[in-house]
């Protein structure tokens, strides 16, 4: 275990390529506890590749990822124990019930029966889904599935929550609900959140911002700092300037 320097997540000089195409190039940023960091980037910026590397689905030859000081490549089990993940595409088993999906996740994290029952109730109640715990996932709508996935990601009480475009395909009320809920988690649960999105309105002014474009970090700081650096009135304008520079 290396020194964390108070960081929950550290991404250091990370590069990755698909055959000849470089997807990430020397990516650096870090998250502190209680940070809600928005990873903003257009489609194809490398957000999903970055998530695959953080979660050890892929392994990079250049750079490293540290979760609470544990190197994902060298100590994957210790590192992944601190991580809760909501992927872009739903990873719930549609044939199983909500409860069965959550129990399966709890068992993979080595949670005992009593703890599992208590945590499932706690997280599902928080998402307003406890009454629907015995329903098959395929009968739930997109918004409810996302809520179940967030409940599942938090079941083992991780210190970092990763969300890869979790609101894609959801209606406005569902989107708003999820954005508000995740922001409240940073405040109330001492959780670090890394939220990948291409939707500007999902970022709050108090959030940290990492702008990823064409596999490179174009800006990194608080929303206010990034806007000031770009002399922009809002995130949308700052983002446009940052991504236009690359294109020119």
């Amino acid at each position: 275990m290396s020194q964390t320097g108070g960081f929950s997540l550290q991404v250091e000089a990370l590069s990755y390529a698909y055959d000849e195409k470089r997807a990430l190039n020397n990516v650096n940023f870090s998250l502190q506890p209680k940070d809600c960091t928005i990873l903003l980037g257009p489609n194809g910026a490398g957000k999903t590749t970055l998530f695959s590397l953080i979660t050890h689905l892929y392994s990079a030859r250049e750079g490293r990822v540290l979760i609470n000081g544990y190197d994902v490549k060298k100590q994957p089990s210790l590192a992944l124990a601190n991580l809760g993940v909501v992927f872009q595409q739903t990873t719930l088993d549609l044939d199983l019930s909500v409860l069965q999906n959550l129990k399966y996740h709890a068992s993979l994290h080595g949670m005992g029966r009593k703890q599992t029952v208590a945590r499932i109730q706690q997280e599902l109640e928080r998402q307003g889904m406890y009454e629907r715990r015995n329903e098959q996932v395929k009968l739930l709508n997109g918004g409810h599935r996302r809520r179940v996935e967030i409940a599942r990601a938090l079941l083992h009480q991780p210190s970092i929550l990763l969300l890869d475009e979790p609101t894609v395909g959801l209606d406005m009320p569902s989107r708003k609900g999820i954005v508000e809920h995740v922001h409240s988690l940073c405040k109330d649960d001492n959780l670090s959140v890394l939220w990948a999105t291409h939707l500007f309105d999902e970022a709050y002014e108090t959030d940290q911002l990492v702008v990823l474009h064409a596999g490179e970090v174009k800006a990194n700081g608080s929303v206010k700092e990034v806007c000031e650096q770009q002399s922009a009135n809002d995130i949308a304008a700052a983002f446009q300037q940052l991504t236009a520079k690359k294109a020119s």
């Binding site: 990755y16 055959d19 392994s59 990873t91």
Partner: protein, 269 residues
Amino acid sequence: MKSRHASIALNGIIKRELWRFLRQRERFVAALVRPLVWLFVFAAGFRSTLGIAIIPPYETYILYEVYIAVGLIGMIQLFNGMQSSLSMVYDREMGSMKTLLISPLPRWFLLTGKLMAGAFVSIMQVYTFLLVAWFYDIQAPWLGYLTLLPALILVGLMLGALGMLLSSFIKQLENFAGIMNFVIFPMFFMSTALYPLWKIKESSELLHTLASYNPFSQAVELLRFALYGQFNAYAFVYTLVSFAIFMGVAIWGYNPSKGMMVKKGGGPP
């Protein structure tokens, strides 16, 4: 890896497979109907033309149905192994494989757990088949049903590992049809499941050689001897070594820094 965590996780993986299996009743029926059709129709039709001489482990002349029954047990496990492989490709495409792979446990353990879960399901199918066969007068010694169990576990793991190996190299679900044509059918027909080795030798020396080196043949022989309370050491070692090789390559295939993942990327261009 803590042993308590490992046992809870293994229990969870097996339970999930069981839940899925119970939800998909048609899968259970299909898995049972296939060998029963072979038993009731194919074997009955060939009963008069395919007489079986006295060969170990049988101590007397037997009907063709008795011979083929063990081959059909192998068939259940072969199809189950490939079905697991299919579901892994599906899970990977649908994303639920990610849930397993990002768990805080070594990848080899997670994949072995998944294999054990698949073998467990196939064993339930086999005993249901044997129950039906019992009423069809295909009966082994009582003890045989017990000694069969460890053989079923090993064969289930070996065929599951083969399926897993294939799944690690299949990129898309559509490619799975090729598996049927190039793996399942040759493995099944070029084995001792339907006819003994000496019968194959009578018709083709080449086929005989291929069948004797086919891991599925040795798996079927291991099952055949086990069902009659006997131990076939050669078949056991052959099956065990095949399992170790298939499993080793499958784990390599699922390693994020090697195997299939590297084909997609991994280093600087």
